[in-house]
Subunit: 374 residues, 4 copies
């Protein structure tokens, strides 16, 4: 199996996460080409050089176009602020590269559509950074549902909460601007919840929604306050294409919640529950056996839940947030090797974008919105 060259744009939260994942994937899984860490892009160039040394990249640059043009780079990883995603992704696809893009795809649904269209016609493969989907617990939930463990699915409920914008006195930043950040809670975290709902129940047909901005202004350095232009909280009642109903809510101002992604899938014979803050547990209730012995089971993930065992051969020892990115990278490398589409690629992710933008539109118009209509 030959090696594969990696170019990484960005060294922040997700940039580091990518660097670690591409560095570890071969040791963890074995069955993939060994990634060569070729080029790291950051500004200014001194920082790029420093982080290239730290992350183990062979070269560095402060010009992302150079990185894309580098013939040794096969995969372009884009972990920059959202507003730069579109231009970089289109350029990388045009150059025939594989693209590993962090979520959300873009600031607007129009941009996301353009990117998905470009990917559909491109030589390179794409994958988007919906890392939670790769959690063995969630994969197992999907497997249980498919196997009929809870009967016919009847309702999906999902919550995604963090508190990084809960403090009223947090200074105003680019996050508050539609033009810089696009949507608020929906774009930052809501799309993750949609990706999970989609994996477990399927695509969303239509919805009605509401949004709130909890803190209408934020203090500006030097005095005064500026308005917050996007939502802190959004909620929606969903109808999935298969007729299942759902409700979701997302908040970036939920004190105490650090990485709370909780869902329930209700079925005619049981229920599955999950909470990302305890990401190595899955809860299962089945209406089987003696009533006196029925209850929610707390299943600790382990080697029985692939690919957990690639990381640790002992159950209950726990994977962490960064491990999920390793599984995502594995999926991408396997897709490239096998000549198939990765999950979720730009086409898959476009649906998640369509749902969150439909939530925003319904909240603004007060009307039911059919997802994907233009």
């Amino acid at each position: 199996m030959k090696t594969i060259g990696i170019g990484l744009i960005g060294t922040g939260f997700m940039g580091k996460c990518h660097a670690l994942a591409y560095g570890a994937v071969k040791a963890v899984f074995g069955d993939v080409p060994a990634p060569r860490l070729e080029v790291l892009c950051e500004v200014p160039s001194e920082k790029a050089a420093e982080y290239a040394g730290r992350f183990g990249f062979a070269r560095s640059t402060s010009d992302w176009r150079d990185l894309i043009a580098d013939p040794a780079v096969d995969i372009v990883c884009i972990t920059t602020p959202n507003k730069m995603h579109k231009e970089m992704a289109l350029a990388a696809l045009a150059a025939g590269k594989h693209v590993h893009l962090e979520k959300p795809m873009a600031l607007t649904i129009e941009d996301a559509r353009q990117m998905a269209a470009a990917a559909a016609g491109a030589r390179g493969r794409t994958i988007t950074g919906y890392n939670y989907l790769h959690n063995p617990a969630i994969t197992h939930a999907r497997r249980l549902i498919d196997a009929g463990a809870i009967g016919r699915v009847v309702q999906f409920r999902g919550v995604i909460d963090e508190d990084y914008q809960a403090d009223p006195e947090l200074p105003w930043s680019w996050r508050a601007m539609r033009e810089q950040a696009g949507l608020g809670a929906l774009g930052d975290i809501g799309c993750h919840l949609v990706s999970i709902a989609n994996a477990l129940v399927g695509p969303v047909e239509s919805l009605v929604a509401e949004m709130q901005t909890v803190h209408e202004t934020r203090p500006v350095e030097g005095g005064g306050r500026k308005p917050v232009e996007n939502e802190d909280i959004a909620s929606a009642l969903l109808t999935f294409r298969n007729g299942v109903k759902g409700l979701i809510t997302a908040s970036r101002s939920a004190w105490g919640r650090k990485s709370y992604i909780a869902f329930e899938v209700h079925g005619t014979e049981g229920m599955i529950r999950y909470d990302q803050e305890r990401m190595n547990e899955l809860h299962l209730y089945q209406n089987r056996g003696e009533v006196a012995e029925q209850g929610f089971k707390t299943i600790l993930t382990g080697p029985a839940h692939p690919p957990y065992g690639e990381f640790v051969p002992a159950p209950g020892h726990q994977l962490g947030f960064n491990d999920l990115k390793v599984i995502e990278v594995h999926e991408f490398l396997r897709a490239i090797v096998e000549g198939r589409e990765a999950k979720p690629n730009f086409t898959d992710a476009l649906h998640f974008e369509e749902v969150i933008h439909a939530v925003a539109r319904s909240a603004e118009t007060g009307e039911r919105v059919v997802v994907g209509l233009r």
Copy 2:
């Protein structure tokens, strides 16, 4: 303090609960008139006599009009099937009695309005059986919110689930008929959730909603199946009168949920969480002190949360479901002694009915519904 005479109609789930509560309230609290258990009504009369002996009532009857007419009866407790509530309550009020009515008030919103109007002009006081409101944990949540412990309230989320209608092969019954049962999950349990939302956040202004019937038909004894006419699941996005947003969902077909009433109140400085299946716990997060020491606190109720201490002087020893009814009875007796309205009386409860019927209307029309409009 003089005694007070009790007449109880019904000996089922709630009838027994009333009998126990009126029997215990004087010993628990001390500061109320001692209830005299005067008349028990049940059919047939043999069963009435048997239960009168068991529950400690002095007399029994199979005619509820006799019970209401009995001069020794000061309070009429109505724990019969919902469709009989209206006639009994109106008769008791007309006879000048105090009325302790189990929820929901009636099958239709028109009936509930008529009952509330009657109560408003009556000599007797009223109370409705929203027992969960009297849980010291929920009372404490209210106190914390009022004291600003979580800042300004920004979102309410509530879930109420049971699984008594989750089994697809459960036989068809009166519960499935609009004419006999009225609403489904909303009337049985949804109104409890509304009562709690109202206590913690205030009245609801408007909403959009959806409903589902999970099991569209149920088997009939002797063969064949009959249609289920009311909802198994209902969900709504709420706007409270004070501008707070909320979302609620209720299911009577949620496998694994036995008495799940879970809510979250999100504020600008913290969050309160609660789950009725652990009814002696309250969860509080506050954005105070060192970040490294912040977390949700699990508060076990105790004497610091009145009136817990009237039952047990030691914290964490736990109240049970039947104890909540004792607190409700105490509230009623104190209101009568003090010559004030009890909480929640028919007027209060009418709002809960208006909300659940608005949920049903919105789900049927697909439109936003303003609560309380006729």
Copy 3:
């Protein structure tokens, strides 16, 4: 079924609990003689009269010997401070009464033995106040073990904690005196844990133990400090008669613990866990079925766990602390009606006393102690 007359000595924590339980038992269960609340004893006589009115007793007295002598009294309930147990119990037995005695039996093991001997030769039946044993969750744990649900039992672990003596500045009281209180944490709460271990695994053969006094002195009103003469914490390694090993620990100075009685029973095919602070839950792990679906089940008690259903017909609605005493009273009344010994009677309870006194002796001598040796 004829009625049965009750005399209650004491109106404190446990006195009130007895009054409520004897008042409720007929309504809850039906299948027992209706208790007549005949005489309440308290000092001074004004308080006795007041509480008789409140608790519903027909008469009151400030002389417990009068209560015992009263021909209308069939059962004598003793809920007074521990040091008075022996004299009262012996007198009641001598008078031919049934005796319902709160735990622990007495201050010394010699006194407990004398009481058990008296009970063995008496006409009246006895029961001791080990209320936790009657929790449907614990009864179900016993049933599961007997049915082999976890295979052969191999280890018992138990913890009982409260924090009523955790505050270093809590004033010195009679609780600190050997002569007034006897043992410390062992007598107050440790014996409860022993009663549960005995119910689930069987009697204890021998043990090695340690004790600690966390706060060696306590402040006395008016200034100065006096020594604490008994233990705050005790721990032991147990060998049960059937060869199973165990370890237990008890603390009355464990901050945060309010009514924590947690045990684990390890078996060759599974494990049972329980925590009294969530007294309506039982946790069960079984090594059955797919490994990927194994986990601890959280079983919420309900009608499938008798006699829960006598209190509430719906599962998960929860019993409270005071309800356990009602079940205990039911056991006593049924035993009297059926002419059999109640569980746990003085003989049963003597074993629990022998274990806690063996813990104290081992801690003092540093040697292994065989339980029950004189």
Copy 4:
């Protein structure tokens, strides 16, 4: 900062964990020399070569003496079966190398003493694989205790359970032999618990203990059964040198427990609780503020708990088992750079060995054993 050469012996559970950790540490932390993965040792040589490619090592060998002799190797990582630890560690120390040794140190206490003595006189530094110590949650527990957050420590309780030897029909293996495996549960997992007790409370002075072999024989391939020579369960009552009391228990046959390392530290002003199966949470109770608001806080680890933030800048996103080894490697590399001893080195680890061997001796003799006496 110059680079540092790594030689790794072993490619199993812990071998892979070491490879990943040395591969990631520079990217995660930055402030260490970049590790060069020089030589991987495994047998046979084909497997060594394969894993060298997968793990990213430059060379491979099937002779561990070659690895130690390799001048490019600065640190020798030993992850082989326990019985080989002594010979390899002594050889590496004699060659002037730094030694990173997995626990336990050796099969016998005599061997461990010899190794600690060799390390004390060696040029190279040592560290032992007590990875749980490096969990930010446990580090924070230590910090809280040192800062007096729970007052004076009065009791330590610890449990360590897994179920890898719970199945009675699991075939007999080397794990069952004293000569091959040394101690049972104590050596495999008990020593981890001791390392944590030591970090939080200090060294152990003396103890009394018991042991059990749950499954006395195990089936041998081809028929028949062979005896299990070491313990499945061990328990002890501890007296720490500072006078604090403790109790610990370890089981390798505890069904349902996958990586359960639970401890409680009781103090005069609060309590700290922890459970490794939820390794990103710490529970803290403090007797401060309003009684009505006191409760155990569930603290989710985050950047406020160093070095969590080096892995993920967002709280609650969670570290995994393999991340702990990265922190351990960081400690070792920093110690080497700073010319100081790493924690825990061979001298520190010898105490953990002395405690578990004292447990075994006390269990065998039935006597109290003073730890460290020869």
